[in-house]
Symmetry: C2
Subunit: 869 residues, 2 copies
Amino acid sequence: MTQKYVYFFGEGDTSDKKLLGGKGANLGSMTKIGLPVPPGFTITAKVCIEVNRTKKWPDGLLKQIEENVKRLEKKMNKHFGDNENPLLVSVRSGAAVSMPGMMDTVLNLGLNDEAVEGLAKQSGDDRFAWDSYRRFIQMFGDVVMGIEHARFEHELERVKNGRQDTDLDVSDLRKVVDAYKVLVRKEAGKLFPQDPMEQLKMSVDAVFNSWDNKRAITYRRLNGIPDDLGTAVNVQAMVFGNLGWDSGTGVGFTRNPATGENVLYGEYLMNAQGEDVVAGIRTPKHFEDMKKEMPESYKQLQKIRETLERNYKDMQDFEFTIENGKLYMLQTRDGKRTAAAAVKIAVDMVKEKLLTEDEAIMKMKPEQLDQLLHKQIDPESKKGTPIAKGLPASPGAAVGKAVFTAEEAAAIKEKNPKEKLVLVRTETSPEDIEGMNAAEGILTARGGMTSHAAVVARGMGKCCVAGCDGINVDEKAGRFRAGDTVIKAGDVISLDGSTGEVYKGALNLVEPGIGGDFAVLMKWVDKRKRLSVKTNADTPHDAQVAKDFGAEGIGLCRTEHMFFKPERIMAVREMILSETLDERKKALDKIRPMQKEDFKGLFKVMDGMPIIIRLLDPPLHEFLPHEEKETKEVADEMGISPQKIKNTIKALHEFNPMLGFRGCRLGVKYPEINEMQARAIFEAALESKKDGHKPIPYIEVPLVGNVKEFLLIRDIIEKVADELGVKGRIKYKIGTMIEVPRAAMTADEIAKEADFMSFGTNDLTQMGCGFSRDDAGKFLNIYVDKGIYERDPFQSIDQSGVGRLMEYCIEHARKVKPDIEIGICGEHGGEAESVKFCHRIGLNDVSCSPYRVPIARLAAAQAAIEEKR
Amino acid sequence: MTQKYVYFFGEGDTSDKKLLGGKGANLGSMTKIGLPVPPGFTITAKVCIEVNRTKKWPDGLLKQIEENVKRLEKKMNKHFGDNENPLLVSVRSGAAVSMPGMMDTVLNLGLNDEAVEGLAKQSGDDRFAWDSYRRFIQMFGDVVMGIEHARFEHELERVKNGRQDTDLDVSDLRKVVDAYKVLVRKEAGKLFPQDPMEQLKMSVDAVFNSWDNKRAITYRRLNGIPDDLGTAVNVQAMVFGNLGWDSGTGVGFTRNPATGENVLYGEYLMNAQGEDVVAGIRTPKHFEDMKKEMPESYKQLQKIRETLERNYKDMQDFEFTIENGKLYMLQTRDGKRTAAAAVKIAVDMVKEKLLTEDEAIMKMKPEQLDQLLHKQIDPESKKGTPIAKGLPASPGAAVGKAVFTAEEAAAIKEKNPKEKLVLVRTETSPEDIEGMNAAEGILTARGGMTSHAAVVARGMGKCCVAGCDGINVDEKAGRFRAGDTVIKAGDVISLDGSTGEVYKGALNLVEPGIGGDFAVLMKWVDKRKRLSVKTNADTPHDAQVAKDFGAEGIGLCRTEHMFFKPERIMAVREMILSETLDERKKALDKIRPMQKEDFKGLFKVMDGMPIIIRLLDPPLHEFLPHEEKETKEVADEMGISPQKIKNTIKALHEFNPMLGFRGCRLGVKYPEINEMQARAIFEAALESKKDGHKPIPYIEVPLVGNVKEFLLIRDIIEKVADELGVKGRIKYKIGTMIEVPRAAMTADEIAKEADFMSFGTNDLTQMGCGFSRDDAGKFLNIYVDKGIYERDPFQSIDQSGVGRLMEYCIEHARKVKPDIEIGICGEHGGEAESVKFCHRIGLNDVSCSPYRVPIARLAAAQAAIEEKR
């Protein structure tokens, strides 16, 4: 039996998104649950992959398509190419994972010189028929035949001759169609296809091809979507929102995607096709207006909203068209939402008994919380008036230099990753993805809350002000005008994504507060998670921020950050430039009281919580001046010759500093450094205790590769502890980083001696994979492009490689010390997939930067729920 | 019950060298088998470790020593400090492993103001007694009390006042004794101890301390002896070789240690103590003379020789003393020997049925074979006459710049490791160890075949000419005179260690031939070994040398070495500087025919044996010029601007090149490079086959960390193979290096796809331990000193760390492909301990440089025998 390549809507397992794609599955399931969906069929995603690989259609595919077309003709009682009652269809892509605006779509397929007459008869509207025909040729020519959109616009402008679209009559539109046909023959070297089946075959191929276009690949890479999913193709009977003023089209959400409020939310345009809404070319009306304009349709939408949420158990993003007063559902999918909305919706749905707490937690995207935790514009700094105001399309705030093309934004960011940019466009399109990614925020002159810019920005967690009518953007000249104000490329502006305000200059940003629904959700989260979530912090301020975000201790306090403070860097340099042990000790004695105060500050904030303090780690040359001028200044201040500093730098030079003289190797050679640090920690702890706090220092030895290194350093620390009489008074532990592969491989030996272990997965990845993070840029992109690594292993733990080292380490450490605490403190500790992996392999805790603590908590809870299932 | 700390000779298990030390065990066992050994007792090595740790004597030790002294007094019928019949003893160190000249010794202990009178009566020789007393004070003052040797010499010279030692009469010697006592009080701040028990206690402590002196530590480090063995102390009744002309002392070998000839071999001095022979101060007579001078003793020695070899089943190095015609054995141990002697002795002893073949193989020290494989002086180049001739003390040859102090030799070598040096000394002493290690060869003016220089040089496998009377060395001025010739520091000389000849200037060196006994031994070896031993070779010449040494294929052919040849480096540079694929391909097309010829050459030599050819590995910048002048030349020749070359170098610059853009990463980015190499290999193989050879190329992908990298490169190679129709005609394999920890950890995935694997343990050590080989010098010495690593992990595989990665890899690779061939091709492949480890973990083959092939074969056989036991 031939394989089943094509499914009529409602056929088969309509939950199989991998096969039918998200859109196809939903059209099928909407059909099943009785929603008014125009009939159609889905060609599976499996076919896409096969065709893209073999470059030909599998046997039987064409036949199955033809059969389904027949079924569709029968159901609609319309026929392809018929000059009385023609069947018109849309052809849309639909992958398993939503990729908004990424894939190409063809509408009105089936129109030809005959069918246009049929459509005219059918609709009783010649002008509509010929306008549809010219739109179809334009879209088909662009998307399927690859002729530049602008070429068609040019022909259209010629006929319009300065008039509006709506001023064109039927004879004008016939002229446009003729001109388009000539254009197609000239540009594509062949005639515009008149056979609807031929049109369909070509369109299906175009959708298949679009899976591998650059935009789609970029989107997949940015969103971690695998390349081998493929896209399904949905062929659906057309319904028309542009049949007159009792027709229209709209896009809605079952709840407010910006705030999460439980109300029907959306926009529509009368007498328009769907693309007009999404593309943001005309600014649509809000549903509020529909209540008055089309009360029946509005009531119907309210009912559909409930049906959808009951069925899909999530907030839905849907498209609909009203054809001569009759409403059709064209699409539904889980709606993108701001983090704030996601939180509110999750909590509300539990209250509404639509979801269990577990389900609500699982609906959350951990990475998205980042938005909630991002800075907002300080209300105090809003003294002037905004230069413009648009729609509050994606919350948060952005301050940056205006930039007017996506390419430029991407280029500037690549050159200087620290540059803050705001992308300003009349409207955005899928080609702009990389530029949007490079910007802090996006400002558009046209388009609504569901325009491309708004949807994508929300997905990215970036601030966006859309549909800002008051501005006039000249991309070519690189400037925009807002009233009397002109902002040129490079001028700094500020956006408030929550109010839609645009300001000239840089406003202050403030920390976000978290509470309300978020607090409720996080309470559920904390009930479920097993991992303890700590933070990486070196200052009382950061520690406090993290604690407010729910951190349960400090997982990594980097002592060297304290070394860089201006008032102590001199003493550090003296230490490095010392030629004798005595000189070195004298310099260290200057540093110790300062370090002690640092630790006291941390003990105070983290009262009763463990603080993992890592001993000095970086190579010493990092503390020395490297510029000629600075070298001279330092030499003068220290009363030595600049040559001496240069000599020391030369002596410290290494070919591969990553694998060089750093970490515990410093302490093995210069035990007095670690001795000073141990003394500062213990003295701080004793004094803190006297002040009524409960300090819990965990002293961590970095870059251990061999248990004997650890023993040497532990001895130094224990000797200080004995000397200061710490035992019995302070609860301390001495443990080690696991960042050298050899340490992971000899974890049994190390675990015998160490009280705790903490993975430094940055270095473990560097050494485990043999990549230098500073250099890997030269080839790592190619590696991700070619699929050698699915994701950048420095962003998300390489679970199948570095992860194995971790598993080996844990297994062997626990064999000799079953209750040894093992954590992770690299940057991976705040990345959701990595956190889940850490849960699965049985770590005790993860540590991450303060702002990522809630993300880690949520991911930890999701991992625990996944495990339970 | 108190522990037993002291064993009278013959008591206990006399094979327990760990407890009794080598010397103590042998004195005990010699006593047991009835050889004439002066009685005595041994304080165990365990005590040494305990005392050095606790800094005090354990309870009961003193009592046991006192009891054994009593027993000794009874046995000898002599008494400590007796003025009639005093007991005198020697106190000597003796560790489990022989450390010649490393440890301090005290002779004539027991002499004091009373006992000297007793000794005079006993020996009937006042002069002898007082000379012994003054020698004892001198030795005790130096070794036990730490007073400089030269201070005593100075006092002696004062009394001698220009006369010879032998001119001193009793009253002179009494004056010397008095002067010595004054010196001791002044220098040590206390009186010279008169109580023999006090003398003994102090001497025992001195021996214990000597375990941790710098010389001993250095020797242990150089010889890989663990620090926690400790040394036993042997206290033995003195016998005197300096009692007159019917007394004497000597050192012998049961066979010739230089050639292995089965004859009694040794030297002696009449009327002398043992130290006079070993120190090389007087040039001793050969045993041949003893036949005439003391025929009885000679006969006795012949018998002892047989007894010793029958008992110890090895060639022995023994010391003896003749006291008034009666012969005493003072020591025996396995004798150091040249590699040639070792081979002959092993083979002979099998013939003599003293050893089995297995035992003979186990007696060999693999590293020592290096000597046999070293170059010799080309007889053709010996046209002039030698400037001097000494004893052929250690075979081989050396050409290098004369250097006159050990410190200087070590310093020069450290600055420039490639510098070749010959150390020239009047005589050497244990302090010179590091300098001897730094030199290619050693030339001494004094001392015999058993002098310090000779013994140590043989142990090190270095060429040595000793006792070269014809030269006059002035270390201070840095020159020596040989007849009319003056050689100054820095002048080049050549030594022939097999003839004892010294030449001015540099003679040519030739490759050694191997055959005879060596061939017999290696036949036994090959019957036993399981590992296949291959070689690292890039040229037909090296391949031929290795094949002659028994290589069974090439385990690593580095293609990049071929890239550096002058006639092709230009094309390589063109390739690197290419901006387009076409340019790059054009440059590669120039390289391909040259590479093909290289491979054809190798296929011819290695007819029918596998050749593992590694694809391009190093970072590209290595091929570009780095000096200003060279850059300009290259730019001119290529017709481009020097700036372009500089820009490319800048673009290729990396912070950690070790972890950078190299290995298969080059091929992932530039597939055309590997495509060219595959083509060159297959074309060469096809042409070789046409020429009647049997080429077996194994193509190896370097620096794989992820199976997907391997798949990409394998596809490139397979495509070329298909294109050239290689399949079915050439037996080829495609495999991978395992040098990235991630590759070891994902060996199951890689083994599914790869035909073979080869460990690159250099890089695996770098990444596994997190050491950059170029930089580790900054701390690795300290690491070895502190015992963090017992040996430099770049010299001998870090079995407990990197070794675990290897074991994990093998286990997981074999799980999915049980018969996958796995080898090693790093420099460890020729180091005996590493080879044995490779055997134990189940590798199929090892590969090493041509000259180390026999070492690897021997080590492989020993590993197989050890496994069988």
